[in-house]
Amino acid sequence: MKRYSVFAVAREALRYHQGWGRAWRSPEPKKKYEAIIIGAGGHGLATAYYLGKNHGLKNVAILEKGWLGGGNTGRNTTIIRSNYLQDASAAIYEKARSLYETMSQDLNYNVMFSPRGVMMLAQTQHEIRGYKRTAHANALQGVSTEFITPDRVKSLVPIINIDGPRYPVLGALWQPRGGTARHDAVAWGYARACSEMGMDVIQQCEVTGIRRQNGQVQGVETSKGSIDCEKLGIVVAGHTGVLADMAGFRMPIESVALQALVSEPIKPCMDVVVMANTVHGYMSQSDKGEMVIGGGADGFNNYTQRGSFHHVEETVRALIETFPIISRLKMLRWWGGIVDMTGDRSPILSTTPVKNIFINCGWGTGGFKAIPGSGWAMAELMAKGHSSLTEEFGLNRFKEGKFIDESVAAGVAH
């Protein structure tokens, strides 16, 4: 496979780019693999990539029902941050963030990681206290964040309205090394790198059954035939329940729609990612110039990728209040994705009741930012049977009551 560089592009330009080959091969499945990953989204591809890179496991197939990166990897608001409160979350998200920093070089694929900084506004006394606590926790977790003043907020984001009137900005939790990346490129970069290692990325291949014997996985039935495997990783986000059902166990998962939208592109006017949790909205500006906007998830089970309009309305209203200049911009595109929510809203990276089946799901509304960390940890779990990064994210936590609750900053006001 050809290495990507400015020289390669220049060379190819001379023949009108007719010399580029496929970014990834399109093979037929083999009879047997050491490991099969179901789901060629960011998390699945990253899992495969680190299985090969970190653990030398390269006889791997990644099976994808539709097109690689066609699910939530390509339908999110591309925010990358690791300013989480709980140790377990901070560990895996910070691992992910640090891997994002070198991902372009690592994959030889420009994923446009842009460490422009992520800011979470504090608009109540309660939020101030919550974010100060997070900043303290982050300092001990090796995550660089700080609590900044309203003046600093204004100087970083001149278009913000810090005076309210409803919810004045009282400060913010600031993670300067958070940012955004080009979401599709993450999937494409991993797919290309996996393919280069000799792994088979098999698209349009739907898993229809999971074969087990004596409580151990044997292989999968697919629309492209039966495939054997020694280890199986299920990494299918919203469709986890369906796959778990095939493997014979139940999951603490519910699938709901999460919506996002972008404005028409305008010249650069905002250099950081801003999240306003009191009013429920967040916004950043893409390199293309579009304002990328997201908000809360719908509250009912849904597989249609269509959310309810009133959530969009609430989000937009919140952001007009926060950024008054956006009122005359226009909504260009709106879309929904199906996210898998667990009982404590934290992900599951776990062994399962079936031996050698591993599951990675439940990223809810925050999956994109975790992709490399999740893949790294999942690969370790699949290769070694344990990983310090996944330890707390096991399925058993729901039985033991050992939750990882990141919503703590949103307690109640007295």
């Binding site: 999951m251 603490p252 719908d298 849904n302 249609t304 309810s308």
Partner: protein, 109 residues
């Protein structure tokens, strides 16, 4: 943007008048139950692609909780009924049978 007919006040309620309340017909497990039973009750969910039974509250209307039978793939509503029951009315199950032959949800079919 869903619409449900509230089985209590009879009006066609817009989604903005309602609060979703998750899966219906959960059996509560309290003290004396096993860890598995309690975990199942609190967390494990059907989350089906297709026919589903769920709870809604007509919160900006009559305030009553009710149950709905709905398809999560098409958002078709097969019917709504009282929350004060242990299983969906036969009439609604019959309607689902006609539209989704062979459907199954927990031990209902």
């Amino acid at each position: 943007m869903l619409i449900f007919t509230c089985p209590y006040c009879g009006i066609e309620a817009d989604e903005t008048e309602l609060t979703p309340g998750g899966e219906a017909h959960l059996k509560r497990f309290g003290p004396g139950s096993s860890d598995e039973e309690f975990e199942g009750y609190l967390f494990n969910r059907e989350n089906p692609k297709g026919v589903h039974f769920e709870r809604w509250r007509h919160v900006y209307g009559c305030g009553k909780w009710f149950h709905a039978a709905r398809c999560t793939l098409t958002l078709e509503v097969f019917g709504t009924y009282s929350a004060q029951t242990f299983e969906p009315p036969e009439e609604i199950k019959e309607r689902i049978r006609a539209k989704r032959p062979g459907w199954k949800w927990r031990n209902f079919s």
